[in-house]
Subunit: 511 residues, 2 copies
Amino acid sequence: MSKRALSVTREENFPEWYQAVVRDGDMAETSPVRGCMIIKPWGWGVWERIQAELDQRIKDTGHDNCYFPLFIPMSFIAKEAEHVEGFAKEMAVVTHHRLKNVGGKLELDPTAKLEEPLIVRPTSETIIGDAFQRWVKSYRDLPLLVNQWANVVRWEMRTRLFLRTAEFLWQEGHTAHADRDDAMAETMRMLEVYREFAENILAMPVIAGEKPANERFPGADNTYSIEAMMQDGKALQAGTSHYLGTHFAEAQSIQYQSAEGKLEYCHTTSWGVSTRLIGGVIMTHGDDDGLRVPPAIAPRQIVIVPMLRDKPEDASLLDYCAGLEKDLKAAGIRVLVDAKQVKSAEKRWSWVRRGAPVIIEIGGRDAAGGNVTFMRRDKLRDGDKVISQTMPLAQFVSEAPTLLSEIQASLFNEAKARLDANIVTGITSFDALADYFGAAADSDDEAGAFKGWVKVAWSRPEGAELDAIDDRLKALKLTIRNAPLGQEPVAGACVFTGAPAKEYVLIARAY
Amino acid sequence: MSKRALSVTREENFPEWYQAVVRDGDMAETSPVRGCMIIKPWGWGVWERIQAELDQRIKDTGHDNCYFPLFIPMSFIAKEAEHVEGFAKEMAVVTHHRLKNVGGKLELDPTAKLEEPLIVRPTSETIIGDAFQRWVKSYRDLPLLVNQWANVVRWEMRTRLFLRTAEFLWQEGHTAHADRDDAMAETMRMLEVYREFAENILAMPVIAGEKPANERFPGADNTYSIEAMMQDGKALQAGTSHYLGTHFAEAQSIQYQSAEGKLEYCHTTSWGVSTRLIGGVIMTHGDDDGLRVPPAIAPRQIVIVPMLRDKPEDASLLDYCAGLEKDLKAAGIRVLVDAKQVKSAEKRWSWVRRGAPVIIEIGGRDAAGGNVTFMRRDKLRDGDKVISQTMPLAQFVSEAPTLLSEIQASLFNEAKARLDANIVTGITSFDALADYFGAAADSDDEAGAFKGWVKVAWSRPEGAELDAIDDRLKALKLTIRNAPLGQEPVAGACVFTGAPAKEYVLIARAY
């Protein structure tokens, strides 16, 4: 039995702990629709902050937001399937546009069958490419830099809230450029936007790098990702940026007239992050008392819980809290007074589980003394004991912005130390790699000990050689995550092929 | 041939003029998917401002944003159809979850047929009601105040960009209350939020009132709307707020334990506005030169066009513009320097057609003299002549916020004067009503002269009597819009039944 606010600890059972945080932190719940989630107010508030912060960065780098249709004609998808290998076919298909009442029972109306089925967008390359083909005429129209925030659907068999759901929310950037250099610069620029955003806003350290050929987005020349380490040692791909070459442009006739009057194909890119980031935040920062939300994305950075006693004195306590709220708001802080008619201990723990960065409890003594008693969610306990601090109200208000910055930094530093300490190097053979991760395919990776990631040298094989390596890794439930950018010069032989190594790659179990 | 920036005037052909504004104002375009639109950057920017302003008001009135699934199980819809009369059945139905490659051709995979079809949400009462049934236990959980921003789909046969599309974007508020009084207060509160928002932010005067029984949302006890007058005299229903009684609560077992320990049904409400508002803004404020966007929702309130000549002097011109941009940004104004390599006249007219509230053109003389030359989009011409003003830069910057407020007010006042001047009273018989609107059903209401609205006294009939009136009005392409709130005491007999009148209602052609 846990001595913490959740019924299960990370060590006992990480997947169950994750579910408990999502549920008890009021983030999301499953719905009656297979694989689709209901995002609850606290979870939605986190997503709103993620959207606002990332949207600003997307606009600051020159992109315009647009909105494209939810549905994609099946012929578009068929065309993509022709020129793209490894194209996923699990998608929601709309075949009818009307129901009818048959003897009091609602049924599909067979007379309302669509001539061409419509696919609920799994991603929008094809429908946006079709618009690009109309919008791009001359080199003067380039680069064309577009983003949309949208829901997408991919039929997933095993779903997990935020991490893998049939419907999820994301942003998808789509851009067209005159040449490879400009498109590659865009691809790398957006990868860096994701890295900076993940680290500074989500307080989630990541490693940016290039995916191996077998992990590329279907149709991409190069795929780059940011990878984050979860507290169970697994990797979470938190964002991707793709250079698509001229594949999509050729399939969709996205052409422009150059300054020299020649007709040329555009080079395109796409890049996206999704509600999956929230799963990453939970598994990066959560502890056995629940979620810890970084202040930059906390819907409420400070929550004030008045210790009401259903007595006349409550009124002055509420006044005191309202004054504090006003002062904190004036300092630009997102603050809430939780005046619900519920026991204050219950309210305190509900905010602990939700992970509000700072929780203030105001009792009669605080109000009388002009003080504020508060808990930092990032440093909730000393051993088992919950710790709080008391200081004069004016001092608290003036120090609050710094306090929130400190919490943001402390969450990042804690995660960064974990990431840095758990990338193992020095493994030079496949056998040693297998040994390290526990050798057998039947090792239960869900409950396994923390293994982190391994960084090995490889020769960057492609084709059948890479497929064989992929199979050997899959048998160990491992994947190559990426080849980190800006890495040190490589030495030695490839851990897989024995050929001279070309670079280092990260290997891990992954979500 | 029009002497204006659009190829067609409002007077020549209002529907074609509308299409021209949408197209040439870079607001939206049709997509390859029947009835679904592509919202372009300028149109999307307007929607972002609408969302931001309205979202703040929704939060300020105590509502939490959530997100519910895109899909609704067919059984939920079937249940609703059972207890709700007049339930629309035109909806997109998902029947399969996979495609397969058959001899190089992509087809539906018959093995991937869903056991239960899924409906793409046309509105979310049923799926949100299902959550409410789980979330509400006690009177302490009430009121439950939820909103979501989402895309919805209704299969429409005749579509028109923004006004009626198969997929559209909206917010839908859903709330549960302990009793009728509280739910009715919520219904009216949100109607007032819509009215205030439409008038102060969209600069679109509206009349708030109650819909007649035959125009209620299926399942509602009372439906209220805000109605706006378009420049062709037609009414646009711009937002609705419904008191749903206990109908949905009874069908879905949304019950709570009262303070006295009794199990009671909740009283629920719902309310929404959609991307249709953008159509309303266009038809309220557009003129023959294109759109005029109210400053409060303009993605760029001031656009600076440097008159570049592809010469070395361009650099200092751009510096001057950058300085002006910085000063205006510091004043909290959304500003853009359009430095594209396109002729400045072309850029000027593209911003006129988009309806940027203030368009500045900076030439060498302005820069040398430290001046700003600008056009107000709301007062673009004197007769046929385009008018501009010049003033010192510092003066322009200091007066810019006031200028934008003036433009906001002038757009509202112009529309308000039109609304007030075009509600005809004094019609006391159905024949006179028919005469006023042109009598015959074959009168072409698209090209017809401006007729505005008529306010008549009626006896508030319901049932078969109301249906008969509805039929007579429909033959004239007319509908009852609403019974305005806070109206003066009624006198005389009902224009339809001859019985003593109970209130006034507005009658109009409508979108």
